[in-house]
């Protein structure tokens, strides 16, 4: 563990990514406490440009709502959706991949055909359809993002498990008569985890983008403000008021960038060959 943090902190991209993520998380957690005003409240005249009033530092949108408050509350929704949907995707994808890889044969065939079924449909289109059918709400959004993002996890885990399955220590565990679930959980998965963690960090970024795209198209939860919603709502007035779209857009950019940097840092830190060579 110590070794991990050491190599993680040695990669500059990892450090930058971590700082960005920590910042975003603290904004999401503490921001609403410091700025308790609802982001839906109409506080000032509409289309107030940024940096004109200290009470609304980033200006107001088409209804006179505080863009800054929207950014802070939006961080909460965007991060929450990103993290929770990734978690759900992992919970679905890892067991399926592990079982397919470990048992092989017909189980593998069945599970992989099932996975491919999801992979053949363009993921964004599937997400739109799911949200539209289930009616837009935070639950349906998380669910649909999870549904479209678990197949790569399953395939990755399956590949890892397939190769670990033939290692001597796994064979030894089989010989000593340990149960299948014990072998998968205690012997194989811990060793297959590093690439999954890297993938997960990138999945959070993708999930944030997916949520933003859905909200942009008007398929967000109408009761919650999110960055994608703000960009979508401001898009049509971009010629009159650039700030309504630009600030949340930058927030999406930075947080997705941060997560990608973390992914890169994790990759460096968790890849034994990279981290031990030459540094």
């Amino acid at each position: 563990m110590k070794q991990f943090w050491k190599s993680m902190l040695r990669s500059p991209s990892g450090v930058i990514g971590l700082i960005i993520l920590l910042l975003a998380i603290s904004v999401a957690v503490f921001g609403p406490m410091l700025f308790p005003n609802s982001p839906w409240r109409m506080v000032q005249r509409p289309f107030l440009p940024p940096f004109t009033l200290s009470t609304v530092p980033l200006g107001t949108d088409a209804l006179g709502r505080d863009v800054f408050a929207g950014m802070i509350f939006g961080a909460r929704v965007s991060l929450l959706v990103g993290l929770v949907s990734t978690l759900v995707a992992l919970i679905v994808g890892v067991p399926i991949g592990a079982m397919a890889g470990y048992f092989g044969g017909k189980v593998d065939d069945a599970l992989m055909r099932f996975t491919e079924f999801f992979q053949t449909i363009p993921s964004f289109a599937l997400a739109i359809v799911l949200v539209a059918i289930l009616q837009p709400s935070i639950y349906s959004i998380v669910a649909s993002i999870a549904v479209v993002s678990w197949p790569p996890v399953a395939r990755l885990v399956r590949g890892e498990v397939l190769s670990l399955r033939t290692r001597e220590y796994v064979q030894a565990a089989v010989v000593t008569g340990q149960s299948n679930s014990w072998i998968i959980l205690r012997e194989i998965l811990p060793n297959a985890l590093s690439p999954v963690i890297v993938l997960a960090s990138l999945m959070v970024a993708t999930a944030i983008l997916l949520e933003s795209s859905l909200s942009f198209l008007g398929l967000g939860d109408p009761n919650l403000i999110s960055w994608g919603y703000m960009v979508g709502a401001g898009r049509t007035v971009i010629r009159q008021a650039w700030w309504i779209t630009v600030f949340p857009g930058v927030a999406i950019l930075i947080s997705v960038l941060g997560l990608n940097l973390i992914g890169e840092g994790l990759n460096d830190a968790l890849n034994p060959r990279l981290s031990r060579e030459g540094r």
Binding site: A62, L63, G64, Q135, P222, R239
Partner: protein
């Protein structure tokens, strides 16, 4: 800000032009946007908004209506009403011909009425009180009613009762008649060509029965599917007229600031779209009158008008739009007063029960409006959950009565008996419809007043009845009236006299001319 600009433009551009009376110039072509592309142009069979807009200039009705909804001669040059208000006699104009040269006569009127009864739901309804129609000679038509029907003179507008040529339709299958694709009317413009997805072209009718009119040579109705592209088409000069509703509201201030651009909200008086919130009177907190009144006090309707509708429109005072006959503003007033709303909610014992609210899925403006209303209601302590739907899904929920609050807007057609009563009388409660009495309000006194009002004579008696009905309704708040909507028409100032009637662009090209 935008309000002042609009007002200034209105004044500067002289939309009161008839008073300044420049002599009209002949010639020229106008490009106007039509949105969306109409499904067809046979007005007697298709009544979509865009169909009415294009075909109202090809076909004509017996009467035309001023912005104050007074009947004016069109195909009928005069009319008279009998003592008992049951017989209406129309004298038709002589020398009127169809676009193919055949004369227009009373036989065409009788035939049109027969066709409309089968193809036009609203016309059928409007004609329900008619016992018989006769043509004593070629230029006289006599309507005999079962009982006096006050709004009768209001049903002859071109979209409500267009005249169709008997000689082309009689004995044919109306639905598949080839003239549906190349309509023949008596109007100032003749159908020339329609390139689907691109434009509809109308040309001047040289034999039009009002000498000297129309002034224009041609009209091109341009089909441009994307809202932003329509704005750009105006900016780049590709089109000269953007009829109401063809660009998004937030583009209106920007476009109206352009050089040589005139904006007007006039020309919708006959339709008078009124926006309100359906309040489900049947169940939950909204079954309590005090909660419904609280909603009226809680919503900042001036804000909605100034910010969301860019200053266009008017805050509604009750069930009738101010342009509708017998309108009165001598009713209970509901100014924006959150404190009073809170007090009423408390009195009604409302304890934060969840209330669902369903915005109208008609684009940006309506979505923003839903957000603003939600905030208003939350500010007075109501718990509101927004239900996101598409147009069909939203209609379904309303039709199933599966809603608490839902946005809508409806046309009013000039007379309380034609467009207002249907939303409040208990006989109009029926599952499966998105208009009429969707809120489930039932009050025997209101039923009685609207039943009497439709057939009462003389006018002063009707006035008395409808004013009483308005007072009761505004006290009871069966629905929460929001705004009298205005759909601004944006056009180049060189386009003169386009909007002179209660249906505006729909039959306005007859008098329009280009100042070159």
């Amino acid at each position: 800000m935008s309000k002042r600009v609009l007002l200034g433009l209105l004044l500067a551009c002289g939309l009161t032009a008839p008073a300044l009376a420049q002599a009209p110039k002949t010639g020229g072509t106008i490009n106007a946007v039509i949105q969306p592309e109409p499904p067809g142009l046979m007005l007697a069979q298709i009544q979509n908004g865009p169909t009415q807009m294009v075909s109202g200039n090809i076909f004509e009705g017996l009467l035309r209506y001023s912005p104050k909804l007074e009947p004016q001669p069109e195909l009928a040059e005069s009319w008279s009403v009998s003592e008992d208000a049951k017989t209406y006699t129309f004298k038709l104009k002589k020398g009127v011909t169809w676009h193919d040269g055949k004369p227009f006569t009373a036989a065409d009127v009788l035939f049109s009425i027969e066709m409309l009864k089968q193809t036009h739901a609203r016309a059928r309804n409007n004609l329900a009180q008619v016992e018989k129609v006769e043509a004593p000679d070629d230029h006289t038509v006599v309507f005999t009613l079962k009982q006096p029907f006050g709004p009768f003179l209001g049903i002859f507008e071109v979209g409500s009762m267009p005249m169709v040529p008997k000689h082309l339709y009689e004995g044919t299958d109306w639905k598949t008649n080839p003239y549906n694709n190349a309509p023949v009317g008596t109007g100032p413009f003749m159908f020339k060509e329609w390139q689907k997805g691109s434009f509809i072209r109308l040309v001047k009718n040289p034999n039009y029965h009002e000498k000297g009119k129309p002034y224009l040579d041609e009209i091109y109705w341009q089909v441009i599917p994307d809202a932003a592209a329509r704005s750009v088409a105006y900016e780049t000069g590709k089109v000269d007229v953007l009829p109401g509703g063809s660009v998004e509201n937030f583009d209106v201030p920007r476009l109206s600031k352009l050089k040589d651009t005139c904006v007007t909200g006039a020309g919708w008086e006959f339709f008078s779209p009124l926006a309100w919130l359906w309040l489900n009177n049947r169940q939950g907190p909204l079954a309590d009158k005090r909660v419904r009144q609280a909603i009226m006090y809680a919503i900042d309707r001036d804000f909605a008008k100034d910010v969301i509708w860019n200053g266009l429109g008017k805050v509604a005072t009750g069930p009738s739009a101010s342009t509708i006959k017998y309108y009165t503003d001598d009713v209970k007033k509901y100014p924006y007063d959150p404190a009073k709303a809170k007090a009423l909610l408390k009195e009604a014992g409302y304890k934060g029960e969840k209330i669902r609210m369903q915005p109208l899925a008609y684009g940006e403006t309506w979505q923003r409006w839903g957000e603003a209303v939600k905030q208003n209601l939350q500010d007075v302590g109501m718990t509101i959950e927004t239900i996101a739907t598409d147009v069909a899904g939203g209609n379904q929920k309303i039709a199933d009565w599966d809603y608490d609050i839902a946005f809508t807007y409806l046309y009013q057609y000039g007379d309380p008996a034609l467009g207002v009563g249907r939303n409040y009388v208990s006989s109009a409660i029926a599952k499966g419809q998105v208009f009429n009495n969707v809120e489930g309000y039932s009050n025997p006194e209101i039923d009685k007043l609207f039943a009497e009002g439709a057939i009462a004579t003389p006018d002063s008696k009707r006035k008395e009845i409808y004013e009483k009905a308005q007072k009761i309704l505004v006290e009871d708040v069966p629905v929460a009236w929001m705004l009298e909507l205005q759909f601004p028409t944006i056009m180049r100032c060189k386009v003169k006299n386009l909007i002179t009637t209660g249906i505006g662009v729909n039959d306005g090209f007859k008098d329009a001319w280009l100042d070159k």
